[in-house]
């Protein structure tokens, strides 16, 4: 039903419609509204016999999920930021064991300095954890991707992370068509686990595997990811049939990527998540001015749709990758994956790190990127709206005295004195 609803609430209701058996969570902003709503829905008996467990840490949240999933229960949890880092060990374990857990990551920056606002450095840190990662461009897709995620996870026996920008999406109220439980049931069959702890048919799960088979186990995990690249389009098609919309949101292409005016685009902006909306507005603006701009969103970051990305971008002249996280010491994270996709093709590509720690990514700044890209003034790697003066002063201080004090405090002092 179409309603004006907060993103978190829509996700919670959609998850509830997927009828999980176990939901476990530890509160962390900006994930809280999702699990608060799920607690209420559980208590109201809206999710059948679902068990909601307040754990004492994210480490335990994912651990409970592992135990629950291995016992054949459909299992859900949500986290963000430091929470995701605190559960890294069981996150890897869940994928290694092939447990189809679905987890929402309400994307948030990672400290230090502590920062509760949005960027994607949390989920990006887990890009190699073996989980499937789906990024939502708006709240409709944030909600819908969960339905797809459960189906995908359980078909492949692999956990899936649905990443949605914290606050920007989780706390935004907008019109969302929250999937009807009857339709969800049509799309999402009963969970039939591939392995289950059952006294009737006992197995040992989680054996120690030595050099003789570890590579093979890892290869099979990789193979499953690649398999997902085939299954996601199938499931997306099926989803569309049932729900009359794409799980990946507007401009969805096979559930893997989104394509916006790519056919003839000379400048293509690439991004993950909610910034795509602003980017599309920018594309429209430039198109009005006759600039052949386009945008590509990546919904499935893991597995990375190398072929689709290559096909979508190979005719572009300039590519600007807008990233909400980066790899210190190297540069872009998404960019390097796109480079892999485009290997052998010589296209000028720039990486712009934007929106770190909640800094607004404005339409104005995005639009300027297109201009700069067109005029060749966009460096290969840069930070959007970086306060150059501020950082240069701190660097100066560092040069002058070894003990220049805490960097964050210095910057704040500087800002205050302006």
């Amino acid at each position: 039903m179409l309603q004006q609803i907060e993103g978190s609430k829509a996700v919670a209701e959609t998850v509830a419609a997927c009828m999980p058996d176990v939901v476990c969570a530890y509160p962390i902003s900006p994930q809280t509204h999702i699990v608060e709503a799920l607690d209420e829905l559980t208590r109201l008996g809206k999710i059948g016999n679902c068990q909601f467990i307040n754990v004492e840490s994210e480490f335990s949240a994912m651990s409970v999920a592992i135990g629950s999933s291995a016992t054949g229960a459909r299992t859900y949890t949500a986290t963000a930021s430091q929470g995701l880092l605190f559960m890294v060990e069981p996150v890897y374990n869940a994928s290694g064991l092939g447990l189809p857990i679905v987890m929402t990551v309400a994307n948030r920056a990672i400290g230090s300095p502590i920062n509760i606002w949005n960027d994607q450095s949390d989920s990006m840190s887990q890009r190699d954890s073996g989980w499937i990662q789906l990024y939502a461009q708006d709240n409709q897709s944030a909600a819908d991707l969960h339905i797809l995620a459960f189906r995908l996870a359980e078909e492949l026996s692999l956990p899936v992370m649905v990443c949605m920008d914290g606050f920007i999406l989780t706390h935004a109220m907008e019109e969302i068509d929250v999937a009807e439980p009857e339709l969800v049931q049509k799309f999402l069959p009963k969970f039939t686990p591939r392995q289950v702890l059952d006294p009737q048919d006992p197995v040992s799960i989680g054996a120690m595997v030595g050099p003789e088979a570890f590579t093979e186990v890892k290869y099979l995990g990789h193979f499953k990811q690649l398999k997902a690249l085939e299954i996601i389009p199938e499931l997306s098609q099926e989803f569309e049939k049932v729900f009359a919309r794409s799980a990946g949101g507007p401009d969805d292409y096979k559930g893997l990527v989104t394509k916006y005016h790519l056919e003839d685009a000379e400048v293509v902006l690439v991004a993950l998540g909610s910034v795509l909306g602003t980017i599309k507005d920018a594309v429209d603006e430039h198109r009005k001015n006759g600039v052949k701009a386009g945008a590509m969103g990546i919904t499935s970051f893991r597995p990375f749709p190398l072929d689709e990305v290559r096909k979508s971008l190979k005719h572009a002249q300039k590519i600007v990758v807008v990233e909400r996280a980066f790899a210190p010491g190297v540069g872009g994270i998404v960019s390097s994956n796109i480079r892999t996709a485009l290997s052998g093709i010589d296209i000028k590509m720039s990486t712009v790190v934007a929106g770190l720690g909640g800094r607004p990514i404005t339409l104005k700044s995005i639009s300027e990127l297109v201009d700069k890209a067109l005029y060749g003034s966009l460096p290969e790697f840069s930070f959007m709206d970086l306060d150059v003066e501020l950082v240069e002063r701190e660097l100066e201080r560092n040069l002058l005295t070894r003990r220049s004090g805490p960097m964050a405090e210095n910057l704040l002092k500087d800002l205050g004195s302006r």
């Binding site: 004006q4 902003s29 109220m173 907008e174 909306g277 404005t362």
Partner: protein, 196 residues
């Protein structure tokens, strides 16, 4: 697209106000987006929330930087933050106060804009009367509906009724309605003055 920025203090229902507004717009068959300023502000701290209303689906995810309307739930904020930042020259401004613009020291700002864009609503008083608590947000929304015509009073009322339990909803509906009438009255006075 019509963009609204609401200023208030933590605990005054600033975020709720933006959300109610978006629901009202949704009920009026428009597209709307409401979001807070994503802070970790505690009770009493200055808080901002945003709402966008449009005939078309909204994709933009930046904060409202150039508001078409500014709602000020607490006039004491005038001295601590720049509530008028980015204000459009023909934008709306509705402030919860019993004082005059002059008494608030913003008569200069008001004077620089069309007269039928600036409104005073004694929202806390109205709220106190109907709800028993000085929660100004519903009353200000009634005032906003009257001033801007961007949402209907009926939708504001429906949004309030949908959000709150019956008793509280009734008080807030009464407050919104009274504020709505209050602003209509103000408008008439302005028009009357203008006509004269």
């Amino acid at each position: 697209m019509f963009q609204i920025r609401i200023h208030g203090r933590g605990g005054q229902g600033v975020v709720t106000a933006a959300e109610l507004l978006s629901v009202a717009a949704f009920l009026d068959k428009q597209h709307a987006q409401a979001f807070p300023s994503f802070g970790s502000e505690r009770t009493g701290a200055p808080v901002v929330s945003f709402c966008r209303i449009s005939e078309n689906p909204i994709r933009l995810r930046e904060p409202v930087l150039e508001p078409d309307a500014i709602l000020i739930q607490d006039p004491t904020l005038l001295h601590s933050i720049d509530v008028f930042a980015g204000a459009k020259s023909d934008g709306y401004m509705i402030i919860n106060t019993t004082k005059s613009f002059a008494e608030l020291g913003i008569d200069e700002f008001v004077a620089s804009r069309p007269q039928n864009r600036n409104f005073i609503v004694p929202a806390s008083d109205i709220a106190f009367k109907h709800v028993g608590r000085p929660m100004p947000n519903a009353a200000l929304l009634g005032g906003f509906a009257a001033a801007t015509k961007k949402v209907t009073l009926a939708s504001v009322v429906a949004a309030i009724e949908d959000r709150f339990p019956t008793k509280i909803a009734a008080g807030n509906v009464a407050a919104a309605t009274e504020a709505y009438e209050f602003v209509i009255q103000e408008l008439e006075e302005v028009n009357h003055v203008a006509a004269n």
